[in-house]
Amino acid sequence: MSDPFESYSDLDDLAEQLASDDAGERRVAVMELADLGDPQAIPLLARAMADKDAGVRLQVARALESYDGPAAAAVLVTALTDPDKEVASAASESAAELKDPASADPLFPLVEHTSPFVRASALRALKELRRKESLKPALQALRDSDPQVRVQAVGVVGFLKLEEAVPALKSAAADPDPLVRRAAISALTFSHTQTATETIAKGLADSDWMVREIAAETLGSAHGEGAAAQLLATLSDPFWQVRLKTIRSLGKLKHKPAIKGISEALGHAQANLRKEAAAALGEIGDPSAKPALEAVADDPDPDVRKNIRWALQQIAIKAAASA
C-alpha cells in the first residue's frame, strides 16, 4: 500500500527534472518547487528564472508567492523585469504578498527602473514591508510621470504614517490625477495636524466626486470641530453618495449645527441617504431633531423607519440622562 501522506519532493530529483529537454517537464518541476515550502528551493527557482521558455518562467513567478525574504525577492526582481508581460504581471502579484521587511532590499533599485510597470509593482510591494528607507525613493516617485506609480508611492508614504511626510502628501492631494488625489487623502487619515485636516477639507471641493466622497468620509475620523464646519458645504453636493458620507461623518462628529442640513436629507428620493440621515441625527442625539424625525416616521422604507425609531430613542436617552 502506498504512503498515505503527501510527500515532500527531493530537491535533487527536482534539480534533475529542471534540466529536462522538455519545457512541460521543467514546468511541472517548478510547480513542485512551489509546493515544497522549503527555502532551499529558491536557488533552483532562480536558475529556472533563466529558462528560455516563457511558460517555465511564468511558473517561477507564480511559485515565488510561496516564498518570502531577500533571496525570493531577488528572483522576483528578475521576474518583474522579464520581457514577457504575463511573467512580469505574475511576479507583481507574488511580490505583493511579501511580508518580510528584509525583502525590501532587492526591490529598492527597481523604483528607478525605466518601465513604469516595474516601478509601480516595486512600490506596491514595498508598501506592506514598511521600511523607513522606502520613504526617500517614494517621495521622489510622487513626482513620477506615470499616475499608477504615483498612486503606489502615496501608499508607501501613507503606510509609514510619518508626520514629516504630511507636506508631500499635501502636494499629492493636488495631483492632476484623481486616483492619486484619492489615495493621498486616504493616506492623510493618520495625521491630525492642521495641514492634514485642511488638505482633506480642500478635497471636499474637488472636481471628482469620488475624491469628494473620500474626503467627506476621512474627515469623520477624529478631525474635530473644524472639520465638521467644513463638511456643512458638501451637505448640498450634487452627488447623493458624497452627501451620504458627509452626513455619516457629521453624525460621528456629533455636529449640532448640521442638524438642519441633515434633516433636509430625510426627504430625499434615495432611501440610502434618508437612512443615513436618520442614523446621524440619532448619533447627534439633540432634541431639536425630533420634529423632523417624527414627521417622516412612516417612511415607506423599513430600514429608514428603523433608523428613525433608533434615533428618537437616542434622543430620549440623552434627554433623560441630562435631566
Binding site: P4, E6, E65, E283, P302
Partner: protein, 580 residues
Amino acid sequence: MTLDAIVDGISEVACDVLVIGGGTAGPMAALKAKQKNPKANVILLEKANVKRSGAISMGMDGLNNAVIPGYATPEQYTKEITIANDGIVNQKAVLKYAQNCYKIIEELDSYGIRFLKNENGDFAVKKVHHIGTYVLPMPNGETVKKALYRQLRRARLLISNRYMATRLLTGTDGRVAGAIAVNTRTSEFLVIKAKSVILCMGAAGRLGLPTSGYMYGTYENAANAGDGYAMAYHAGAALANLECFQINPLIKDYNGPACAYVAGPFGAYTANNEGARFIECDYWSGQMMLEFFNELQSGKGPVFLKLNHLHEDTIKEIETILHKVERPTRGLFHEGRGTDYRREMIEMHISEIGFCSGHSASGVFVDDFGRTTIPGLYAAGDMASVPHNYMLGAFTNGAIAGEDAAEYAANVDFASFDAGAVALEKERVLAPTKREDGIPPNQIEYKTRRLVNDYLQPPKVTRKYELGQTRLAEVRDDLENRMMVRNSHELMRALEAHSILDCADMAAFASLYRTESRWGLYHLRTDFPHKNDEDWFCHTLLSKKDGRMACEKRAVDPYVVPIAEDERDLYDKQRIRASA
C-alpha cells in the same frame, strides 16, 4: 486498468492529534496543535486535497464578523449574536471567539492573505449598520487557501489527502481512540489511532436538493455532505439545536451567495419587485429569512439584489470583488443570461436546507474550547455549535481547539479500543461493492434529498414530517441492503449518501422534538406557531442512546454578557410595520 478500481488493503498509523477536514478550521487547528507542542505528531486528513478543499476552496470575499478594536467590542458582538439567535447560545464560546478573532486576522495577514486596507495600511472596516461594524473585505481573497497551504508545508505537517473518514473509534473507557478512513480512489483503509481528534468537516450542505435539480449545485461546497455530523452521532457525541436549519438567500439558480453584506456597504440592498426594501430585521438570522420567505410568497415577490441605483464607478468596484472571489463563476453566470447590474436587479431565492452553525446554529455541541461531549473529541468550524461563526470563526475556533487538543494529547495515552470495530466497519463500508446488482448511490441520494425538500423544508408541518420519516426509512432499507457501487469513486458517493440520510433523519427527529417555533423560518412549526420561552428556552441535544436517536433539553448557561429585557424587545418592536 479500470478507473478508480477497488483495491483490498489496510494500514495503521498513530498520532497525538488527528485533525479530520482540511478546509478552514482544520488547517488552523493542525497548525496550532503543532505550534503548541512541536514534538506532537499531528495528522491532517482530508477527503479532497487540502490545497483547494472546503467551503472556501476558491477563496472568500470578506469577513463579516470581524471584531476589530475601534469598530466593535467582543461584548457588543456577543450581545448581537445572542439576540440574532433568539437567546439560545453558549455565550462563553461566542465571547471567546470575539476576543480571539482579531489576533487571528493579524496572523492571517502575516500569512500574506490580503485584507482591504486604507492608504495608512489600517484595515478598512466597512459599516453595515449603526449597531456594530464587522465587515472587512478581502480583495484578493482567492489566495486564502494557497496561503494556508504554504503554512502547512512550512510546518511540515503530515497531510493525508483523498482519505474519507467514515467512523470514529471510541475507547473502552469512553474516550476517543482514533478514526477509520477509506481512500476515495482505491478503497484502501487507513486506521488512525489518535489521542485526540478534531472534527472540522464542514456543513451538511448536501441535505436539501437545489431547485435547479443539479445535485451538486448546492450553496455549500458539495463535498460537505455532513460526514462530520454523522460521525459524531455514531460515536455518541451530542449535537445541538439541529432543528435550527441553515437556509440562505442566494442568487436564483446559480445558488451562490448574493453577498449583500459585501455589496451593502456600497449601497446595494435586497428589494422586492417594486424595488423597495422590505427586510425589517437587523441581523442575518432566521427572522430575516422568514421576512425574505414571506416576501417571496407574497404578491411582491420575487426578491432581488438591487444595485442599479449606484454609480457606474461603484458598480465596477463591486464587480471586481464579487466576480473574482468566493464563487468566481458568478460573473460567467450573469454573462450567460445577459444580466447587467447597471440595468436590472438580480433575482434571488432561498437555498435548500442544511446544517451549518457557520450561518445558523446547528452543530456538534462544543464548549468554549471546542470540546464535544466525548473526552478527547473536538469539533470546530461550520459543524461545531458556536453560532454564526462564518469563516473567521472556523479559523479562530479551529485555533482554540487545536491548542487544547494538543495539551490534552500530551497528558493521556492512547485509549484502547475493541479490535473487532475495524473489521465491522470495513464490512459496512464495502457492502455496496459486494453486490452484483442494485441501486446506484446517486439515485439513493437524489431520492433522500427530494424527500427532504418535500417533507422537511420549513414551514414544518408535523404530519408531513411523520410521512417524511416513513419514506426516509424506506430509503434507508434500500441504502443498507440494495445500494451497489462499481468503483472507489462511487463508494465515496455511497458513503456520502449514508451521511446525507443520517442528517435527514436527525433533521426530522430534532425538529419534531422542539414543540414551539423559534429562529424565524429555520424552525417554523405550523402546529406550534409561537415561541415558548417557558418550556423551550434551552438547547436541544440529540445523540445516539442504546443504538437509537434521542433528544434532551440542556439549559442555556448563564449569560456572561447580560442582555436587558428591553434590549431583547427592542428588536421585536423595531419589526412593527409602519402604520401607513
